[in-house]
Amino acid sequence: MEWETVIGLEVHVQLSTASKLFSGTSTEYGAQPNTQASIYDLAMPGTLPVLNTEALRMAVKFGLSIGAEIGKKSVFDRKNYFYPDLPKGYQTSQLDYPTVGKGELVINMEDGSQRTIGVTRAHMEEDAGKSLHEDFHGKSGIDLNRAGTPLLEIVSEPDMRNAKEAVAYLKKLHSIILYLGISDGEMSQGSMRCDANVSVRPKGTTKLGNRTEIKNINSFRFVEKAINIEVERQIDIIEDGGKIEQETRLYDADKNETRSMRSKEVANDYRYFPEPDLLPIVIDDAYIETVRATLPELPDVKKQRFQDQYGLSEYDAMVLSSDLASANYFEAVVDTCDDAKLSANWVMGDLQAYLNKEEISIVNSIVSAKVLGGLIKRITDNTISSKIAKTVFEAMLAGEGDADSIIESKGLKQVTDTGAIEKMVDDVITANPDQVQQFKEGKEQVIGFFVGQIMKASQGKANPGQVNKMLKEKLSK
């Protein structure tokens, strides 16, 4: 039987506010344990929550970026459960009246096609602390620094049909939140976390199968692997005559498997009820329009502009616009050198290769956009060839300065002096009578040999175009 996969994602995005959702405690990452856990975060009796205005603004900004309905009245609820990293015994979240309602996200697939994925809602809630289970003489250690950090949980419709679409959705979401500046989106630090609801059904049917929720997927690569392995597991069970149990499963990246988390426990019953310590959050049209006015140019619009304004291919425009920092860098390079196509090639090619190798982000590149633009300028004005440019780029990476100073100090300036080139051409022709004979007998590809010899003699500095032209003239005589 042919099976169809149905995937919905729940993505938690940590909002990059300075202080927590309901208290004035710092949210800075990497502090010593419990140094950012004050009395409210520890649920001391008598403390009360006060909502962070910036978290609300960020949630609304996100909602507007995906064309979602904005809840003019949103309400916080208590989601009750016991776990030591949740001191209050409940998580303050939003159930029936979330700040962000229905919206949609257009995802870009590798083959250039697009799909629209529904977003059911996005609600604000507070994060829990962290439990450490190792090395405390049979006890668990609790760090509450993260407790109370503002999260936006973005829930999608079950609109994705394979793991690649799930990855594309996640990447688009990642791109948008970085454009909006509402989160640093660092998956490795938990600033963006993803749970996947996965089910399968016979192709052609519409009834949803029993789903499982896969937790602990903390990289783009793992999202694809975890979903694929879970789909395989579900199909195997059904084809063997079994049934899928609705449950939460944990993805283990080392073993590349999912395993049941709490199947034996009583089904979750969170007993939500409206948070009596917080009044409804009410916003008006004026507020919404103020936030809308701060929306930046978003990835899809930028992509189209890159195609229109710079004549980039759809693929290049998509790659460069998907990451805000890359897009800004690219535009700064074009500003300097005025050649968009070459700029795109260098940013996506040699520069990206260097960034990948060093595992650094473009904002930390040792070669600034201005310096790279300066190099490209020397290619377009024929000071150096593309081949020599690579040598200059290597020197830039080694911290040897900008293009002009490297070209000068290494003597890499292209030889365009006709007299000098003519002498080299003559020398090579004189030294290789056999090849000259071959050329005269019609073996034209031998010209490559001559060009090679001359480039070697000039240490790559001769202008290849001039060399070619001159060679042809002389050999044809």
Partner: protein, 95 residues
């Protein structure tokens, strides 16, 4: 509407409460009474009434996003039963 002992046990478990048999009986009776009152309230026609999220007819005031709390870990950990390396220690929990 009345609730059974099993329901009381389930709710007690979710709230991590230990109840004696006598207390369970008593709770079953009290909760049933509360549910009866709610049933009575349910019979009121509320079709044109907007749901109320809070007993006060007021809206939430917001806080500027500034850090106002300082590190008071040492003071706060004095009242914790057990700490180590800045962590609060609790009986082992693992999923």
């Amino acid at each position: 509407m009345s609730i059974e002992l099993g329901d009381v046990e389930n709710i007690a478990h979710l709230a991590r409460l230990h109840l004696s048999n006598e207390e369970k009986q008593e709770a079953a009776g009290s909760i049933s009474n509360i549910l009866a009152l709610i049933d009575q309230m349910q019979s009121v026609d509320t079709d044109n009434v907007e749901p109320l999220a809070h007993a006060f007819d007021a809206v939430q005031r917001l806080r500027e996003d500034v850090v106002t709390e300082s590190n008071q870990r040492d003071e706060l950990q004095k009242i914790a039963p057990e700490t180590e390396e800045g962590l609060y220690l609790v009986p082992k929990v693992i999923e």
